[in-house]
Symmetry: C2
Subunit: 436 residues, 2 copies
């Protein structure tokens, strides 16, 4: 080996060393095996014979899973509390005694026969963040608060309680478990009597980030590592009733019919055509339909359908809806039917993610060498309610084939690790910012 | 008055006399007020608060109504029997001791919350025929048999029993009353144990005519007095299952969907288009639809529909069905879905009315000065099963706006009287024919 060669090799070694530090030594590493193992353990609470997840909110399976998570948090020596809404809160004190917290978390309840990644990846990532903070004795300016929200799948209940958006009616809603929210919250160790006291203000929150699987296929299809969420789309629902005239399917000639089913069929196609005809990511769906009287030998006199429109912009939702209503007017005449649209009280406005947090996440992803995509969330999340309290962001990781709310839900260990690392780095970066 | 004038007046008188005899004296007159009064009395058995008819087969209301009809028949001194299938049979002997009967009748059961004319007009007309025969001492060659059929609305049960087309399965079918056919028949005084013995052969039947309301609007719209039925259309049913892929309605972009609802909407429109594109009276209907999972926020992964096709020609039904299946193939590709068609065991072949009986009815209607229309029956009737036994015909009278199976069902007293008179005249004309 010549001196020249040695120098070259040394230079190469130093270069690699610097390169390595630039992507890892400047930051704390999460434990990939541990987060995956925690996720695997979590699966055991409620897994059914089909491989699906029966851990609906307030069920015994959820109680078992929560006990497991609480035990892990207690073992870390952080302050664990169940608030009146049943949310699990674990606080690790910062060094500055600041009143605002840096918060992070998701949910561990599932839809009936759901999957093992929706909410659960974000929850186990949050646990891993807390474990890394404690284990690596990372000092933070702010208190760091892990949140596991109550009954996300049944209407983002826990985070809505924090945003002060629940009422007596919400408490009486019967959930998939068979319990009402009030009964369920009390099962979790909450207190339905004092539940409205959990409401938080913007004085309480420095920043909140939720990591979640995309539940869509944008990242998966394009092979992108992480998504930086622009906002959570708003959602509006309507009941659509089409009225024609029920008549004998044998004795009423084709040209004498006032068939509510035919008018509805043309309506369903027009909803799809209109949603696609406008540039943008808006979606419109007819998911439910019933024909009355509903017999093979009777021309339907009435058809009831659901209509859902989602977009990041309320104006866009309005634009699509108005085009659909206008199209229905033409269908009314063509089939001698009438259309009636009644809004359903299950709508939520678009929730924009905080621009500064989006930039922090994007910058951190870049530092980590991850490919990234800025995209809206078509699904609702606890982050939409946290955004009403304070600056909020969301990180997405790829979902296998975009499948969600299904036993087939899946994300790779690598993607989960990437997301967890990005969550930690982003939270630490936000912690360093005095004001958002 | 001159002699000439006298002769002219006499000639005129004679002319009028002859004209009068030609349209009335050669025939016996039914009693319009009586048949209308009997129909009004029949209404009282099961009329509900909405004016609808709750007299479903085997119900207490039907038992009361049958007791009323049987009493009226017994008062006439004819031989009244309940056969093993619960059919009411009333025989008035002819003078020739012939083995074949001239039969006529209909049913008095109704669909739930049905009307007071479907079946009931034909039954009270049949009673009026029998009353006229007795009261006016009309001698007939054949025995005249009045039939009130069991459970027409639940699958033309009584007439199917006479045609030998029922089996153990039919007896177990639960009906609208809550009773099975077997239980119901026993309630009516029939005998489910010996029910198969009621089967009749063509040696038993000289001719059968059923008078019925049209249940369509051909006669009503065109202001025509009576319809001469060409035949009763055949009917085929299929279950159609469309499979796509259920997915999140918020996270799945419009161009990534395999929406079973969209494919179904296009299918429903194609069924209608195909049925109308072929010349003829065929009808095709989608009356029932269900989307799965059926939530406003889930793209339907599966849709189940009914498909019904009716026509007087089995070949035409096949032609329409094949065009529909071929159209579904194109829809499959367009929406990345699959279609599956499964025939349902509730089909009936077309039943042609006897040409000679059609001519008799038509000739008699002409003699009575009624306007007439030859037309198919889109609805099923007891006559379709009687046609399997022997020569059968049907007379239609106008239905108000074509409405049927509804409390709004209505036919005018004049139309009912016309139909009853035509029924009597046609039966008497057939009685004179030695062989059909």
């Amino acid at each position: 080996m010549t001196v020249n060669k040695f120098i070259m090799r040394s230079a190469l070694f130093t270069f690699f060393l610097l390169f390595f530090f630039s992507i890892s030594s400047a930051q704390y590493q999460i434990n990939t095996e541990r987060v995956i193992q925690n996720l695997e353990t979590l699966k055991t609470f409620g897994i059914n014979d089909e491989g699906g997840n029966d851990r609906v909110a307030y069920s015994d399976h959820e109680l078992d899973a929560r006990a497991y998570v609480i035990k892990r948090l207690n073992d870390l020596g952080v302050e664990v509390q169940i608030d009146a809404a049943g949310n699990i809160s674990a606080i690790r004190k910062g060094r500055k005694g600041l009143s605002k917290v840096v918060a992070f978390g998701s949910h561990i309840d599932a839809v009936p026969n759901g999957g093992h990644y929706d909410g659960q990846v974000g929850s186990m990532a949050a646990l891993e963040v807390m474990q890394t903070l404690v284990e690596q004795k990372i000092e933070t300016n702010h208190d760091f608060e892990l949140l596991i929200f109550t009954n996300e799948e049944g209407g983002v209940f826990g985070s809505r309680a924090l945003a002060g958006k629940i009422d007596e009616g919400t408490l009486k809603v019967k959930t998939s478990s068979g319990y009402t929210n009030a009964e369920g919250v009390n099962r979790l160790g909450g207190d339905s009597a004092t539940i409205f006291s959990v409401k938080r203000s913007k004085e309480d929150l420095h920043a909140f980030i939720e990591l979640h699987i995309e539940q869509g296929s944008n990242l998966y299809d394009q092979g992108i590592d992480v998504g930086v969420v622009e906002g959570i789309v708003g959602l509006k629902w309507w009941d659509v009733v089409v009225r024609g005239f029920a008549n004998h399917a044998g004795t009423t000639p084709m040209n004498k019919r006032k068939d509510a089913m035919l008018a509805s069929a043309e309506f369903i196609l027009s909803v799809n055509r209109i949603a696609k005809s406008i540039e943008g990511n808006q979606v419109a769906t007819v998911g439910r339909i019933q024909a009355l009287p509903g017999a093979p030998n009777v021309i339907p006199g009435e058809v009831r359908m659901s209509l859902e429109i989602r977009d990041l912009s309320s104006d866009r939702i309005k634009e699509v809806y108005e085009a659909i209503v206008s199209s229905a007017k033409a269908i009314e005449e063509k089939y001698q039917t009438t259309f009636e649209f009644a809004p359903i009280d299950a709508t939520s406005p678009p929730a924009m993610m905080d621009d500064r947090i989006r930039k922090v996440i994007s910058d951190q992803a870049k530092s980590l060498g991850y490919t990234q995509l800025s995209l809206p969330s078509g699904a609702g999340h606890d982050a939409q309610d946290m955004a009403m309290i304070g600056p909020t962001g969301m990180i997405f990781i790829p979902s296998y084939e975009g499948i969600s709310h299904s036993p087939l839900e899946y994300s790779t260990p690598e993607d989960i690790a990437n997301g967890t690392q990005l969550l930690l780095n982003s939270l630490l970066a936000l912690d360093k910012m005095t004001k958002l």
